[in-house]
């Protein structure tokens, strides 16, 4: 860590900061320039106390040098983590396709979606039973009834299921039905929930928050890993910017960035990023070309009657076309996409 002193900071102020840093166990390198003094602090970070140094007299700012995450970093573990969801692996050479409707609406709808996912070659079935909605008057999901339908679809079509959990209290319930727990964008910094899924035996899909930096996102993953659950997959789903012609702005750079900084697999959700199904195939292909370990797309048997996210859901035939395109693309970027039935 570097402590930059204000221009004109006094001798006593500098000594106080040095003393405090030594008290915290740092060894000190002092650089006294013409304009200002800079204090290098080497040693073990104790983040709990550090921020207060910035409040000391004469201090202009702290410049952290080390990244704040540990367990998620490449320094901690160099090999990419491979996450197992039922018999599907994420993070290895094979690309994974997660697909399904935004919300489980009823058995007929989910089974039709699951059939389409299976036939197109998708690997994991998604569908929400607990829906975080901006409006209290919007459809909020079928809750446990939805979980039961998901589990039935898994048994019928042989696809592991991923579904969102929004309340720490429901983790145990969702575990009974699902193969992977999803933490949604709005809950990325719901630290109680993060700790709770960190104690689960199931793998976790951690979506990036709408306004989360890559660093905050990795810190959210760190919460889960620090509770003992190392099976985490990151999901980039678009961030909030000033552009209004798309629902969010897909931060495609996050894919290579997250792979450079850490060892967790990353997939991309082009549906929530785009907000309109016509843009989804282009973004899905971009994701695979950029090195993502898979994608998660919304597929609905009848988007025109969907209870949520209809405009961004692919019809089964468009989804089938997309999977076929991704198969060809996977090969030229050194991956492969093996259809679930193959």
């Amino acid at each position: 860590m570097i402590v930059v002193m204000r221009e004109g900071a006094g001798r006593q102020e500098i000594e106080n900061v040095v003393a405090r840093l030594r008290e915290y166990g740092f060894s000190i390198h002092l650089s006294e320039g013409v304009e200002r003094t800079i204090i290098g602090a080497i040693g073990e970070k104790k983040p709990i106390y550090l921020q207060s140094i910035e409040a000391m007299d004469g201090v202009e700012k702290l410049v952290p040098i080390l990244e704040p995450y540990k367990l998620v970093s490449r320094s901690f573990q160099n090999d990419t983590t491979v996450v197992n969801v039922g018999s599907v692996t994420i993070g290895g050479p094979e690309l994974v396709v997660m697909a399904g409707p935004c919300a489980v609406e009823n058995e007929e709808q989910l089974f039709a979606a699951a059939k389409a996912v299976k036939e197109a070659g998708g690997h994991i079935l998604r569908g929400g039973a607990f829906k975080p909605r901006t409006s209290p008057y919007s459809f909020q999901g079928l809750e446990e009834e939805g979980l039961k339908i998901l589990a039935a679809a898994r048994d019928e079509f042989g696809l592991p299921v991923v579904t969102e959990v929004v309340n720490p209290r429901d983790v145990e319930l969702v575990e009974q039905y699902a193969d992977m727990l999803q933490v949604g964008a709005r809950n990325m910094q719901n630290f109680t929930l993060l700790r709770e899924v960190g104690r689960s035996r199931l793998p976790v899909l951690l979506k990036r928050g709408l306004a989360a930096t890559v660093e905050e996102w990795l810190m959210a993953a760190e919460y889960i890993l620090s509770e003992g659950n190392m099976q985490v997959v990151l999901c980039e789903r678009g961030i909030r910017t000033y552009e209004t012609k798309t629902r969010n702005t897909l931060d495609i750079s996050a894919v290579p960035l997250v792979k450079e900084l850490g060892h967790l697999p990353i997939i991309v959700d082009p549906s929530h990023a785009a907000g309109r199904w016509r843009l989804v195939p282009s973004l899905a292909k971009a994701a695979v070309a950029a090195g993502a370990d898979g994608i998660m797309v919304e597929v609905h048997p009848d988007p025109q009657h969907a209870l949520s996210d209809g405009p961004q859901s692919l019809r089964p035939d468009h989804f089938k076309d997309l999977v076929d395109e991704l198969k060809a693309l996977a090969q030229v970027v050194g991956r492969k996409l093996v259809a679930s039935g193959e």
Copy 2:
């Protein structure tokens, strides 16, 4: 609501949309221009089904006309809501000053802070017992022990207390000690928590999310009101932008905007917006000049040793100066600031 059809949308596509809108109970105004057809839909909105129309063939976009919130709007209730926190009122002619440390660290620290708040003329004591922190390795708060210290400070200094609740499960616990429940920025769309505090008998301070639009913020308040709790105070605390010299960007325009759109009181937290104490007094004064019903500032007896948010915490003497300045300012904007002891 307006449905804009794509250029070249076919006769059948238009008829399908009209039929669907009629099915949902709308009456229809059809405007067929040279370039495209526009369908005006008048009547009761049923938001649950609307989004799917945007997925219909030939539809370019939906343009909502009415605001999505109801209970929080000026149309629903024209008079500004007055919220009661202990004997303090928020939303009336008197400005309210909430102050205290970011986190309750121990009895000595909190009592020193409470004493400073009281002596300067502040009205409500703030302090966190459950701290949502970006890093799992940062200080997370004293939990129930912190609540007890808060309650003791209230009894000692006669200041009602506001404190954050982060887990729906803890609402009942926090209610036993606090006078007002705070929902933090990171939980603004934690809908489970919103519903839970909506069932509380205590007033709620609802902070704006880091990347929440004013509309989403009002919808979050709508969740609370729709559960029956009408005692909600909004708190603008800065939004996330590209500017890095401040922790967040205080959206001062939100103050008059929220007052135009709705009837809930609004206060401003300049400490989290600025991230540096030197900017806090200017922002606090701006808030009052813009029409805010009060402010919430971080005050710490010894910022240089604070366990969190030291750099943005005011020392007691600076806080005292600020309250004095606000007293003078209140008068010229048609409000008054009556010190808690007066």
Copy 3:
């Protein structure tokens, strides 16, 4: 256009708005709902006068229905424009690779870069002679001397050159040396410059502004087309967001979006988006997979001694690898990349 009246707008206010719209040549559809009146205005837009309607008594807001651009839209011209830069075509089946250093530093450096671009199979040489720099103390470019070196490199290596023009007064000068004029991100709304290049006989590369919406970007292109120059290529180069780990955030969605809305070709500059060369290949591949008509990358013979943008410049060997990867990728997305020497 839709005019939404305020709740409770009076009869006279509505009639005034209707009268004004009729005066401007619109035909009117009036929808009087329970809560508010909505006025549909059909007919030719005269944008010069419209904004003032929003200032009329009783008006809540205007909702434009038609896009504000005309000449750049798919409605105006359905076929994708093919732009010719020397013997290179952009917008047809072949992908184009533009590459070269940020700035022309001297003949030796530019010729080394040009040689690398040529040998790797790139098509167009880039290099700045006029550099818009944030600091007045940074290297500002060689100006006309730089243009001469560019022209010499073109003659030596047979690569057409694209270079930025920053001052309307210099357009004529740059035209003497270059094959394509670049309007940089900071000048995207320098309307004087846009008009000036709109009168040029050379094709124009129009970079997206750091904070420009897609609509504003297309309107900037509209300025150029409205002066008679239809040979415009758009270039997405990243937008400004709150994320700090990349220089900008590449808005990959802009690629399919711009192709849906308009007929101009679009290329992607992954170098300025990423700000770090390690991320460049992933983003370049994502761009091609998303449907871009080409890429523009910074290549420097010795990035460690570059006068600008060293950290984001590819070395010749990395650039060669990238072009080879793009060749394979082009095929699976229905394009082809023919090396300049082939």
Copy 4:
């Protein structure tokens, strides 16, 4: 400057960086931690060469310590600059009110506006003759004819005038008529224009770019000062964020921040920030409370027929009320507002 080496950087890589820094005239402090090496470089910055160091093998990042601006900083000049516009001073104890229409439309309109500004007590008349408009089909200003009307209004009402210049070529022309040159938000990084107004004998009003950081804004001012013109006033006018209910987001924190970092006066334009006149008075008062040296507001004799910016323009009566409120407010924040006629 601090150079942070990558984890595992080799001995030779470190030595190469040290050698390069010494070559540039820095003295070196080496801190070798357990995890990585940090190199402190003390001495005169030569920004022209620095960026390339980040491209050296083994380097992770550069951390600049000193601010990049010099002439605009408080270190360079501790006293606040006082700018003279005709007989009006900006930056002293008196608050300045600049007001007038967005665009000069004709003599009648401008004289009516000037009369209103004068009668309400405003000090400087604003009005655009060259209008940078998003659409090429919008009203673009009266150009020299507009300048003549402005000059006539100055003579008639005794108010100095400020008007925008958008083309470097027009600076000389505008100087003949105006008392202050305005550089608009879209031209904040039009460096050719900045240099040109830097050579003018007139004071300059420099608006902040829509997506400019405070640092970039100060660097733009540095361009002007570095050409010899020290008479620069900064103008905060709102930045671009994701919020859509206001035209821009007024960054009120910029006021105290700019005053802390530099010595130039700063005013606030609440009209462009809000985009709607109803919000303007609240924001204007917030600006003064936060410490701004003045405001610039749009006033139009008949906003309902304005050729541009009607919705955000104040009517003369509302403007008069605002000036009266600001007079009272000025006193309690230690300033005074002396009406132009007093």
